[in-house]
Amino acid sequence: MAQRAHEEQLSLAKTKRPKSFKLGYDFRTQMELKFMLWPAIILIAIFDFFPMYGLLMAFKDYDPLTGVKGIFTSPWSGFENFMVMFQSFQFWPMVRNTLGINLLGNLIHVPVVLTFALLLNEINSSRFKSLIQTITYLPHFLSWVIFGGLFITLLNTDGGFVNYLLLKTGLIDEAIQFLGDPKYFWGVAIITNLLKELGWGAILYLAAIAGIDQTLYEAAAIDGAGRFKRMLHVTIPSIMPTLMILIIFAVSGMLNNNFTQIYVLQNTLNLPASEVIDTYVYRTGLKEFQFATATAIGLMKSVFALLLLFGANALSKKLTKSGLF
């Protein structure tokens, strides 16, 4: 209260003074603004920029025991860490898993979510529509620990819902080890992700669809276009820019697996199919303390991800004349 009174007094005092034309450029205001800005700048400097020095480790013969100082004092080793990485027998399976889960996942995810959004858009009752949205958004807000955990129990070999159902209906004779057998892992990862993000992913499409000029539909209908023709020739071309942006994001995130998801579903039995770059960096770095190798992998991933982003953007601009930047 006292402070507020003080402030009011201050502001009263100020009004009496003549104001310069350049409002806000005075020293005091600038200091206040700096006071608002610098805490965040310092946090960014410490937690985002400062660790980039650590990337030097990728080119050094680094010993974890030497701590932060060792990053600077340890001897250079050129590209040796990268060579070690390439020669590792785990390297190519890991790249294959990363790309495979992402590529197949997106190939399934994008059309399914788009179809879902198109179908949802055709629901006329707005109450039913919002009920569907409410329910299908929910999994997005649950953690992967919960959602993944649910599916681990559902896919269990004894007493799991899916195996029980398949066995009872006679589709299989023996319980399938969905999470114990590497050959099912990609499928499990892709489908659980689809189920979790189906509703939420549709929001962007729905927003884009809502922005379409309704007269286009009327014109198409008058020209004799049925429901599907209108979807194909009006809706889809109209949401192309949105679709393109989502595809660019998907391509640039190609090396970026959802660590949070994969780590939950991963176990020692499915490791041949579930080890992706992110989990490998975690394992080699924080479990086996091979800091230099793990940093080299992380660095290479970032570089390729950036290249993918620019590549996808350029391609999208060329093909559809719309891109991210």
Partner: protein
């Protein structure tokens, strides 16, 4: 809408509604399955899973989970962390964005450069780990708080877009009346941007509550476990055990039967415990979900449809 009432239209509508009902069932059923199975006695579950309603209703698994001291400790860590980080980081980011959005801010290009760079550059996992160690944040409660005190430049962009909707005249007249920047922020900006701040708070809170990575990367003592991390450990350890049992059962049926007998004795089994802990850990999210929903839909549209 132009639409006839032809037969093909009706069939389409009907099958569309059918598809939607199926999708909803697919989304909801796993939860229902977990709830009813966690409320059944474990020994009874050996006969086969439950689909609709518990055969032998018992709260034993829930009681076991809820009376476990490490769960309560983890819930406290998760809850306090979520509350602190959400409140401070959103407030801080709103304040930052206010200063950043002032047309008379000197050196704006510098702040913009730092902000955009922070979105694309970072050291990655290992250098961050070393930094936490070096700063003494490793294995400390503060590792959950200090690195997250700023909500990131992405949120700045969203809040900034919202501030632009506030008429300039409001700022100017306040400034003319001699209000300082903090007064303007608290008296004009905050009251006028409650919706976007609420939306971002919901997103932040969900993100922090659901996060287990910070626990995994930067802590080791059991006192600092978050609820998500604890549930993860519960799920993973017995998952391995169950896999082991069935793998062993393939060539040694005796061992498998011994294992299942031990596991299946009594009201509570590892399976019901896992399910109960997952259901309990998701309750807070499910409770706030209906209230939060209207905010986050607004929030995602603010962030995405612009431009």
């Amino acid at each position: 809408m132009v639409g006839g009432r032809s037969w093909s239209d009706r069939i389409f509508t009907l099958s569309n509604v059918g598809i939607m009902l199926f999708v909803m069932l697919l989304t909801v059923y796993p939860f229902w399955f977990s709830i009813v199975n966690s409320l059944n006695t474990g020994s009874d579950l050996i006969r086969g899973p439950i689909f609709v309603w518990p055969r032998e209703l018992t709260m034993a698994s829930w009681r076991t989970v809820l009376s476990d001291p490490s769960i309560l400790q983890a819930a406290w860590i998760s809850g306090s962390r979520t509350a602190i980080v959400t409140f401070v980081s959103i407030f801080h980011t709103a304040l930052f964005t206010y200063a950043f959005s002032r047309p008379y801010l000197k050196g704006k290009a510098f702040y913009a450069a730092v902000g955009f760079a922070s979105m694309y550059f970072g050291g990655g996992l290992i250098p961050s780990f070393m930094l936490m160690n070096w700063l003494g944040l490793y294995d400390s409660y503060l590792v959950y708080i200090i690195p997250s005190l700023f909500a990131g430049f992405w949120n700045v962009i969203i809040i900034n877009a919202n501030y632009k909707a506030i008429p300039d005249a409001l700022f100017e007249s306040a400034k003319m009346d001699g209000a300082n920047e903090f007064t303007i922020f608290f008296r004009i900006v905050i009251p006028l941007s409650k919706p976007v701040l609420a939306a971002l708070s919901v997103f932040t809170a969900v993100g922090v509550w659901n996060d287990y990575n910070a626990t995994l990367y930067f802590t080791q003592s059991t006192d600092l476990q978050t609820l998500q991390y604890l549930v993860l450990k519960l799920v993973q350890s017995t998952q391995a055990a169950a896999q082991m049992a069935s793998a062993a059962g393939a060539d040694n049926p005796d061992l498998a039967s011994v294992f299942s007998q031990v596991e299946g004795r009594g009201e509570v089994t590892t399976q019901t415990l896992q399910l109960a802990s997952m259901v309990i850990a998701s309750i807070p999210m499910i409770i706030i979900y209906p209230f939060a929903q209207r905010y986050f839909i607004k929030g995602i549209l603010i962030g995405s449809v612009k431009g």
